[in-house]
């Protein structure tokens, strides 16, 4: 486990050693803050962060791949992958460390949003249950996007290719689910809607914790991590 934490720590710190990490945090905070200011912090609005969670799921569709795009692609481009591949660590440890590093940065990126909770507390009397489930949803969705980005990053040396392919994958998934469910109709549409990340995430924002959603999002993340390890391992055999 120690090599995993070492790699995760380095990976997370690397975001803060370059401007990219700070810019990502600033953009996310700015966009979500604007949304909060325009939609929630208004007289008569309910004291919830539902709007913030809703917009976060969309923002993360672009921000999470931007975080994950460098994870392995940059190692391959700069040649440091060779250093990792000849270090006494397994491919599993390397990939998991990189993923956890990205998740760590993602959590730090989310942390300024706790200010919104403080604002709600100062201005009204919010319910903390939906806020907690909302955060759980954002974190699970972010983890899924990051794992998919990790996978595309393992497939290429080009960070932009990784970024775009992750975004396109999830956009096409949502479009495909919507159109597919509409065409299939009942009773199959329900099963097809199960593939929609945004629909599952929406329930968290409403304060619903559905075990099925939690398992689906975590299983999706695990699946992409396994694929990433397979891609890294295949480099040795190709």
């Amino acid at each position: 486990m120690r090599p995993v934490l070492l790699i995760a720590g380095r990976e997370c710190a690397a975001f803060f050693r370059t401007s990219a990490g700070w810019v990502t945090i600033a953009l996310y905070t700015l966009l979500s803050g604007l949304w909060i200011a325009l939609s929630t912090l208004r007289p008569g609005e309910p004291a919830t962060l539902r709007a913030f969670f809703g917009v976060s799921h969309w923002i993360l569709l672009f921000v999470a791949p931007a975080i994950s795009m460098r994870l392995i692609a940059e190692e391959k481009r700069s040649g440091t992958m060779e250093v990792l591949m000849t270090s006494p660590i397994s491919d599993w440890q390397m990939v998991l460390g990189k993923y956890l590093g990205a998740v760590g940065f993602f959590l730090l990126m989310l942390s300024p949003s706790l200010v919104y909770v403080g604002l709600l507390e100062a201005l009204a009397d919010p319910e903390y249950g939906p806020i907690a489930t909302g955060y759980a949803g954002v974190i699970l969705v972010g983890m899924l996007y990051l794992s998919a980005g990790l996978f595309t990053s393992a497939l290429t040396e080009n960070q932009v290719v990784s970024l775009l392919s992750t975004i396109f994958f999830f956009v096409l998934l949502e479009l495909g689910v919507t159109q597919g469910a509409r065409l299939a109709g009942p009773p199959f549409d329900r099963a097809i809607y199960g593939f929609s990340v945004l629909l599952r995430a929406g329930d968290f924002a409403k304060g619903i914790i559905d075990t099925g959603h939690v398992v689906a999002l975590l299983a999706g993340s695990a699946w992409f991590i396994v694929l990433s390890v397979a891609v890294v391992e295949s480099r040795r055999w190709r």
């Binding site: 370059t18 700069s78 040649g79 060779e82 250093v83 055999w237």
Partner: protein, 331 residues
């Protein structure tokens, strides 16, 4: 320390390494030479555990590079070409990170970093980001990073690639100092570097070892090693021409004469490569024939001569097997 047995490596349809077998005993410094695409880097990557062989076996310190890959990697310090580093990290942080990956913790980790930094003279740049360093310093950081766990085997792939002459001299000195009690594989294009540093040379071409031996042996056995340049005058000779006198020496294969002026002629006398030192016999023959000699010197054979000749040989023999080329000695 290293045992390769009939190692082959394919990348799709490309046959990068073709049946390489060799043994490297502990403490030996081995230079690996060859043109681009010869299979040098692929071979050292297999030894370092980065990639497995397609067939055959690679063992390091008795450990199989595929089955015991983590242990093999722990025993090796491998510096890939161009010394890749995390450019955003400070030198000290980078070395500490690499030491951590080698399983070092706490005081042992700090000591390893200090020791490697001292060996590679990095004291003054420990707080600078690696991306801000000159190529020479980056190379030193790379070298330091492979010393942290005090490996018994060092593999350095083109350690002076892209450096200026001053940096090359510095790095070469550092490599010599690091060799010490370690086994070292040094992949290089710079022939004088290999000639000066290494006990043994492996010449690769077309995925095979074309020659294997100590630099002196390789150079000594190359046709042309037994060649001598003699500048002589027949002015006071006893009748026989210098060409006849030198041509009558035992073991002489040819004598070429090039007149320099009315009195002096330069002779290029070629003996069989195994003839040994013939300077004395040439001088005695000249004295007995009353020839005047103003210069007598063996022709220097460089590693470059060996390299170019063997590469030409490999080029002209596409069906070459893993046997050594005729001019090469065996280690």
């Amino acid at each position: 320390m290293i045992e390769l047995r009939d190692v082959q490596k394919h990348f799709g349809t490309v046959h990068a390494v073709r049946g390489v077998s060799l043994d490297v005993p502990a403490g030996q410094i081995v230079g690996i030479l060859g043109p681009n695409g010869a299979g040098k880097t692929t071979t050292v990557r297999m030894i370092a555990g980065a990639i497995p062989p397609s067939s055959g076996s690679v063992r390091v310190s008795g450990l199989d590079s595929v089955r015991d890959t983590i242990e093999v990697r722990r025993a090796i310090g491998y510096l890939p070409e161009s010394a890749p580093l995390y450019r955003e990290m400070k030198v000290g942080d980078y070395l500490a990170h690499r030491a951590g990956l080698q399983g070092l913790r706490g005081t042992a980790r700090r000591r390893a970093v200090d020791s490697a930094a001292e060996q590679c003279h990095l004291g003054e740049v420990m707080r600078r980001r690696t991306g801000q360093l000159s190529k020479g310093y980056r190379q030193r950081v790379g070298l330091a990073s492979v010393l942290l766990h005090d490996p018994k085997l060092l593999i350095l792939d083109e350690p002076t690639s892209g450096l200026d002459p001053e940096q090359i001299a510095e790095t070469r000195g550092l490599i010599r100092a690091l060799a010490g009690r370690r086994t070292m594989l040094l992949v290089s294009h710079i022939l004088p570097e290999v000639e000066r540093v290494c006990d043994r040379i492996l010449l690769f071409a077309r995925g095979r070892v074309q020659a294997d031996g100590p630099p002196g042996t390789l150079m000594g056995e190359l046709p042309g090693a037994g060649r001598y340049t003699v500048e002589a005058s027949s002015a006071g000779s006893l009748g026989a021409s210098a060409e006849m006198v030198f041509g009558a020496l035992p073991g002489v294969e040819s004598v070429e004469a090039t007149p320099l002026n009315e009195s002096w002629t330069r002779y290029l006398i070629a003996f069989a490569p195994s003839a040994g030192d013939q300077r004395e016999s040439i001088a005695l023959a000249a004295r007995s024939a009353n020839l005047l000699i103003r210069e007598l010197r063996p022709q220097a054979t460089t590693l470059e001569d060996v390299y170019l000749r063997l590469m030409a040989y490999a080029e002209n023999d596409p069906g070459l097997s893993s046997r050594a080329a005729p001019a090469a000695g065996a280690a």
